[in-house]
């Protein structure tokens, strides 16, 4: 009996943990952390952002109703605090993405794979960013240079590819955590694969886990 009970509670705890880790707030937090720690822009979480926005709106209405109905101010402020936190997560998530777009605009636009990770408004934003930056660079510098040297992305007319585009540094170390199951990583400089159990934290090159971020591995 006693052992049964013990097993039951672990299973329950696991279930509870899984349930908690799949709430939208938790998912948003994970997406936000990944985005914050990754050197390049990640896939935009369309559905998640949509749900979060709706839930925040609903919360705002609820808090307003509470305020009007003269509910206990302490309770209201607890709800408000929860709301503020969710809002911060959402805003910060979108903000970090925009700042990455600002930083790597030329790189993102010429790379189809990265461009496809953007949301529609972000795509509009990156195009405007580039237009504005090109105009500014053109007016201030490029128009004063000889004809063959007027490209914003190439050093001169004889450059065969873009050689003046700021790129994110992917060869950088990040702290990461295996999110759901056993993950095996092939490291560049070692013959033995790095094996990570669930919740194990490792410090590895971003390039190695690039494709697993948000799937098997989350950044911390």
């Amino acid at each position: 009996m006693a052992t049964d009970f013990g097993e039951g509670s672990t299973a329950e705890a696991n279930e509870y943990e899984t349930l908690m880790s799949t709430t939208d707030v938790q998912l948003l937090k994970t997406a936000w952390r990944n985005e914050k720690a990754a050197p390049e822009i990640l896939q935009f979480q369309v559905q998640l952002v949509k749900r979060a926005t709706e839930q925040i709106q609903l919360m705002e209405e609820t808090v307003e109703e509470f305020e009007e109905s003269g509910m206990d101010p302490l309770t209201v402020s607890l709800y408000q605090m929860d709301l503020d936190r969710a809002q911060f997560l959402l805003r910060s998530y979108l903000r970090i993405r925009l700042q990455k777009v600002e930083k790597y605009m030329f790189y993102i636009r010429k790379n189809d794979n990265l461009r496809n990770r953007l949301s529609e408004p972000e795509r509009v934003f990156v195009n405007r960013c580039i237009d504005d930056m090109e105009k500014h660079l053109g007016d201030t510098v490029l128009s004063k240079l000889p004809d063959n040297y007027q490209s914003a992305r190439r050093q001169s007319i004889i450059s065969e590819e873009d050689d003046m585009v700021p790129e994110p540094q992917l060869e950088t170390f990040v702290a990461c955590k295996s999110s759901n199951r056993f993950v095996s990583l092939r490291l560049v400089d070692s013959e033995r694969p790095l094996e990570m159990e669930r919740h194990d934290v490792s410090f590895v090159l971003y390039k190695v886990i690039e494709e697993k971020v948000g799937v098997d591995i989350d950044l911390v």
Binding site: R85, L94, P121, M133, P146, Y149, S156
Partner: protein
């Protein structure tokens, strides 16, 4: 000497406090651009001289070839320095839009004085792009810059904000040096403009 002016221009980026703009040095920038044109003239004349002598520019390796090459490389180096100067400043200007405000008049005068005309234009256009994004997602991304700890914070008014402003339906008298207990989201706007400061501890 080739490239010395451009080096001085780049150094201007790093002197002064980190993240702080120095006045836009149009004079030096134009001098470097002029050096680029001079490089180009020499480059062209060397190439045409070789052509007149009937030499193939691609394969001949004589003094004129290397002379032209030096001028080409020097021009590219100057260009990269010029671009780096303007681009890095543009990044700082993007940062201003996030930390200070989206409107030109919201920037303190001493910052405005440091910007060139084109930089002011760039600031306006870039802010407009940001604003248009924010209105599309229907979220103001310029508030809530730090994770919230408490929904209410204590602030002191630093400047005469005026009595006209209404914070969360309550009109208070925001006289200079008066202290208030406000919703963080309401106060942040004024804090970022330097009109209020948060009191901690």
């Amino acid at each position: 000497m080739h490239g010395r002016l451009a080096c001085r221009l780049i150094k201007e980026l790093t002197t002064g406090e980190k993240g702080q703009l120095n006045p836009f040095n149009a004079k030096l920038l134009n001098e470097v651009a002029k050096e680029c044109s001079e490089n180009f003239l020499v480059l062209q004349s060397l190439i045409s001289k070789m052509q007149e002598e009937g030499l193939d520019f691609q394969t001949t390796r004589n003094a004129d070839h290397y002379g032209a090459l030096i001028n080409h490389l020097s021009l590219i180096r100057n260009k990269r320095c010029l671009m780096a100067y303007v681009y890095n400043r543009a990044e700082m200007i993007q940062n201003l839009a996030w930390t200070v405000g989206l409107r030109l008049f919201e920037l303190p005068e001493d910052i405005q004085e440091k910007l060139s005309h084109s930089e002011k234009e760039y600031f306006k256009r870039h802010s407009a792009a940001l604003e248009s994004y924010m209105s599309k997602v229907d979220l103001d991304l310029n508030v809530d810059m730090v994770p919230p700890k408490d929904p209410y914070i204590k602030v002191r008014v630093l400047d005469d904000v005026g009595e006209g402003i209404v914070v969360s339906d309550k009109a208070a008298n925001f006289a200079r040096h008066s202290m208030h207990f406000l919703k963080r989201t309401d106060a942040e706007l004024y804090i970022s403009r330097g009109l209020m400061e948060e009191l901690t501890g």
